[in-house]
């Protein structure tokens, strides 16, 4: 059946079953491959997107529940140019294989935006707690945490 979504500010209609995970709608039907498949059951964080601004695992979110809501992916995180946390991750070389990064960017960007709106930088503990559900196998954790804190201070 048809589902109407708003993805990165654009209206779109996709035809698939109700229970199709949002992840595959994004990657497959809409060609937005920046959102990663990692586990399919919400255990690794690689597929994180925003739904109405809230970081959410797209792999275990059925498409019906996203219909009528605003979905934001890494490709549409900002209107123009990289988000501050993308800039600091690149500047501080906070990655290796990078497969976990787009999910981490989505989680961190929400955190950073919130901290900046309150005018206070994030603490190391806050960032680690927020990223606890995101797995990284290359061992870039400390660089990522430092980059997120740096972005919140900008």
């Amino acid at each position: 059946m048809d589902h109407d979504l708003t993805v990165n500010g654009e209206q779109c209609r996709v035809e698939c079953s109700d229970t199709t995970p949002l992840l595959w709608v994004l990657r497959d039907a809409l060609g937005l491959t920046g959102t990663r498949f990692g586990c399919g059951v919400g255990s690794c964080g690689a597929c994180t997107v925003w739904i109405d601004g809230q970081p959410t695992h797209s792999c275990d979110t059925p498409v019906w529940s996203a219909a009528g809501h605003h979905v934001t992916t890494v490709e549409g995180l900002t209107d123009a140019g990289p988000h501050p946390v993308q800039e600091t991750i690149i500047a501080m070389q906070a990655g290796q294989c990078g497969y976990c990064l787009s999910g981490i960017v989505m989680r961190s960007a929400a955190l950073v935006d919130d901290a900046r709106s309150q005018g206070r930088p994030l603490t190391d503990l806050e960032v680690r707690e927020a990223l606890e559900g995101h797995l990284c196998r290359c061992g870039a954790h400390n660089r990522i945490v430092a980059a997120v804190i740096e972005a919140s201070e900008a």
């Binding site: 199709t20 960017v105 290359c138």
Partner: protein, 692 residues
Amino acid sequence: MGIPGNPSLAATPLLASWLDFSMPGMVHARTGKSELGQGIDTALVQIVADALGVDQDQVVLVKPDTRGPDETFTAGSLSVQHSGGALVAAATHARVLFTRAAREQLGDDAVLANGRFTDGANAISYWDLAAEVDLETPVDMSLEHPAPTGVIGFSAPRSDLADKVLGRPRYVQDMRLDGMVFARIVRPPSRGSRLLDADVDIVRERHDIVDVVIDGDFVAIVAETEISAVQGATATAGLLSWSHSDETLIDGEVTAFLTSVSTDDTELSAGSVPDAPVLSARYTRPFIAHASIGPSCAIAIDRAGVLQVWSHTQGVYPLRRDIARALGRDESSVHVSHVEGAGCYGHNPADDVAYDAALLATRIPNRPVQVTWSREDELSWSPFGPAMVVDIAAATDDTGIITSWSWDGYGNGHSSRPSTLPSPSLLTFAQQQDGTPIPPSGDPPLASGAGTGRNALPGYRVGEVRAIAHRAKEMPIRASALRSLGAHLNVFAIESHMDALARLHDIDPREYRMRHLDDERGRAVIEAAAEASGWGRQMAEDHGIGMGYARYKGSGAWCAVVAEVEAVSEIRVAGLWIAVDCGRVINPNGVANQIEGGALQSLSWTLKERVRFSAGRVESRTWEEYPILTFGEVPPVEVTLLDRPEEPWLGAGEASMGPTAAALGNAVADALGVRVRDLPLTSDAIVAAMSS
């Protein structure tokens, strides 16, 4: 800076095979080494730019491809040595040839400055001269390297990172080709299960399903969209019935299995078991998973007699050989091109899924087929880092100086990589009708750093050394290369033994190592790590500190790690201080990233990880069942690089694995007064060690 007798140049001698100046303004440099997340692409570009005296952004690295140089596998921390060595020699030779051509036009005073040849008045570029310079000549390795331009030793930003952070297509998972179909595999529930019944017509008849391919125990669902492939696989799984496996081994019995099964023995060092050892002990580790964040993926198309495969393999040529062998095709009709995937730390399912795509492409000709594994298959059907058992006995004199040393290492071989075994080592080939089971893994020869025996010989002066590797001839569960191979457990065992001997003789463990270590570069990394950690300081209650040291493979980078842990009900790591000497540093930030990343991965293996299996079925199939290190568990890490600009460059990807494991074990022993010799260092293992 290359190693004499560079094997990459021996396989691919012609200069034109490595460098191409045909596109104005750009140098295309070819490599056979794969970007696995380690940053090799960036380092190789720096090497070429430095030797040619051009800007880094004028160098385009061409990824591994079976139309380019054959550099076998991207493994063993050898990429900067082999590919970097070949490219620096090729670029140096090219620069000499171009300089000669420039001087014919500009006179003998012409020199290279700012990327152009000039006599002070006129300037010409490499590309102006490209038509006149013949690169179809063997690379001359004897030429003197030009003076460094400052590109080497500079932390150039990674060329791949921005795409990954911005979500641009970069991985093979992101490739979309015209007419592409998508496939998922449904694997048997356990090793040894056979497909009994598969009434899958109801799936096959769905309008968006291209085919359900069944071949022996191999079942693949091919669909027009990825969504349909995923859903078709779920539907198909419920329609299959399988026999029970007749396998019986469980993971808890691995040590008994490895020490009783028939073995193939290799003597690494002739000696005898000490008559009166002061300390004999057994050290073990379980099977360990690669556990990459991205399940493996590949694309293939069979069209006009050519089977083209895109893969995140570590070796395009060996993979091509095994695909050709498995399909009974001529190698020249198969091509493999490298495309990046998620992080790779050894022989993971990259090659298996490439064969899956190749096989399906032959069944559905003229259409690209993309296959992606499931998370469960990635954690359960992948080759694993082999379980190991190490027995060490050491004798000392009255002052604690070691007089003899004995090592016995038991385990499966550390390589079942493609094209290294008598038959193809591709999972699906073993599951197809009339397929051949994957033969037991072998071990790389000692000259290549060995496998079970990697870092088995202590780097210390220990008198007579006896060392025998006992490779199991049966493989209860699929084993192959995982980052650092046997060095992870061997360094853990040797350094635990050194630490215990030091304590037995009431000598500071750092001082004890120094009394047995002649290697100046080894001594320097130990001193640097000790100094950074504040070695000797008073520890807080329940805290302990420990050290681990090794020169990787006895021929690679020197690395020392100090760990501080807090040990109460479970282990919390408070900090790691690491010092490394990998010779001349090409990219300091890149080396630090690799060393820190290696240490944290080793920390995860050493503290948490164990593949669980029972009767042929891997039970650790999800992240809940196979937990790895999380952000909250990662300690602060400090890396000190001892740059040696006059020394050859050495790889850094695996140097910190063993020393980190050892430092953690020794820190736990310091904190608890109990030595845990069976990995992982969980609270269960600590309780078991305390009660024995």
